[in-house]
Amino acid sequence: MIPAAGALLALAAALAAACFVRFYGIAFLGRPRSPEAAAAHEVDPVSRAGLLVPAVLCLLLGVFPAPVIDLLGPVVTALGLESSLPEQGVAGWLSLQPLPERRASYDGLVLFSFLVLAGGFTAILVHRLGGAGLRRGPVWDCGYPDPAPSTQYTAASMSQPIRRVMGPLLLAAEERVTMPAPLDPRPARLEVRLVDRVLEGIYRPLVGIVLAAADRLNPIQFQTIRRYLVLVFLVLVSLLVLTAAGR
């Protein structure tokens, strides 16, 4: 069932992309949504470096995967997994070959250099042909006059299409839109109810059982001394009977 797993992986990747578009878009792009956001300013270089260094490392790892994989090879075999990736450095141009040469190969370096070359070429060509002029003007927005920042898409609205598609399946999400009567000035209401199937299905019953058991055992704490002695007595007698019967 490798294909099914592959499809799920792709679905995961696509959803991750959607989630990061939403995250980056809401956080960094568009017009400031609150007075504090308007007053936001850049952080000090040190924390920016904290962000930048790992990002650059990721890029390098993407472009030169072979050396890293060679490093990880022995670790994988040490873990006892019998097959680690074949030696990478062999097929020139530092290309990555997860499987024997014909089956699949991907070369980070070549593609990245292609990207940079083509990008530079287009930029120069476009600037030479079309000039580098730039003019700033008010937002067009299909002619809608000066839209307020609140018309921007919020996090909930960004996820609304995906929630409608995936919601009922994964999260038992229900959306209810209550539109007021035609003449009624009251605003429409959108209620979204997300039910986490895993939480409801597995964890809540488990916790229920544990607490029920705890409640049933709880009275033992409040017994009289006499009843505790009965417990001691019963343990003693049962053990005696056990040893007597044991013979």
């Binding site: 992309a17 991907y106 079309g130």
Partner: protein, 318 residues
């Protein structure tokens, strides 16, 4: 000398794709118009549009950030490389092994990611509409696309495009149901990805229905030119992908002499024209769907591709 020829062949392929893309869009518009019994725009009209846009000065919104300005270049370059790496008229070109199908899908995914971000940058409602719907469509299209890739890769034994093409060219594959299903799924995904009629109308500016257009609403001047070129290239990439995998006739096997290349190019152009016409015909035959019926459409693609893989998987096992 051999290396030089190969390099030349690769370079020709890249620029051929670039030049052919606007022609393809022009051709599809021409066929669509013809089907509606009207004259339709000149074949070269897309070139003139691109040229005009290229020389116009772009007008940016006040709060447009650096991302808005760099996105067009990013999108255009990634799609151009993706299109360039799909084998068009010859298999086994110099940089053929540099990428395989999964990397290609990832490249297209990256372009979509950058465009969606750019769409949100201006902070208007339409940008949000475009990006959110685009991510929804992507989240369904990508798995379907990958399943198609798996079907083909399982059959051909490799995920490298040129290897697949060679395999399908020479091996007696015979009539396989899973290939037909994969073709259908790939077509549906191509339609969704390129924002063609049933999923999204490329020419419309009706706010509530547009997906791709909503993201690029704020672009103008040379940025818009790049975006338009990119979408044209994307269409070419998808169609040449379909052609390369499912109709590999007339592709020049690697290593043959340089004179055969023009023959290969001609075959490729014919295939492109045929597919373009088919696309135009299909677009005319069907009305645009409501946005929230698109998931069913793409769900159908997903099911088809999954069935394709399953059947193939089963048949290989038995």
């Amino acid at each position: 000398m051999r290396l030089l020829v190969d390099l030349l062949a690769q370079g020709v392929k890249m620029f051929l794709v670039l030049l052919a893309a606007p022609l393809l869009t022009g051709w599809t518009r021409k066929v669509r118009a013809r089907l509606l019994r009207r004259q339709g725009p000149d074949l070269l009209q897309p070139y003139r549009d691109l040229w005009r846009l290229l020389r116009k000065e772009p007008v940016l919104a006040e709060n447009a950030s650096w991302l808005f300005r760099t996105a067009p270049y990013l999108v255009f370059t990634t799609i151009w490389i993706a299109a360039a790496l799909v084998p068009t008229y010859a298999t086994g070109l110099l940089f053929g092994w540099a990428t395989d199908l999964i990397a290609l899908v990832a490249f297209l995914g990256f372009a979509r990611f950058a465009l969606a971000l750019a769409g949100m940058d201006i902070g208007t409602a339409f940008g949000g509409i475009g990006s959110s719907r685009e991510t929804m469509i992507a989240s369904l299209a990508e798995p379907a696309m990958l399943l198609v890739v798996f079907t083909v890769a399982l059959l051909a034994g490799s995920t490298q495009l040129s290897a697949i093409a060679e395999f399908l060219l020479h091996e007696p594959v015979g009539l396989r149901v899973s290939l037909a299903l994969a073709l259908l799924a790939l077509l549906m995904v191509a339609i969704a990805e390129n924002a063609r009629i049933p999923v999204d109308n490329p020419t419309t500016h009706l706010e509530l229905t547009m997906v791709h257009e909503a993201m690029v609403l704020e672009y103008s001047g040379r940025h818009l030119a790049l975006i338009e070129a990119a979408s044209a290239l994307k269409l070419t990439a998808y169609l040449s992908l379909v052609a390369c995998i499912f109709f590999p006739f007339g592709m020049i096997p690697s290593g043959s002499s340089a004179f055969l290349y023009p023959l290969g190019i001609l075959a490729w152009i014919a295939k492109m024209a045929m597919l373009g016409a088919a696309l135009a015909g299909f677009e005319k035959a069907i009305a645009k769907m409501r946005v929230f019926r698109v998931p069913e459409f793409l769900g159908g693609a997903l099911v088809l591709s999954f069935l394709g893989t399953l059947l193939l998987f089963v048949s290989r096992v038995l």
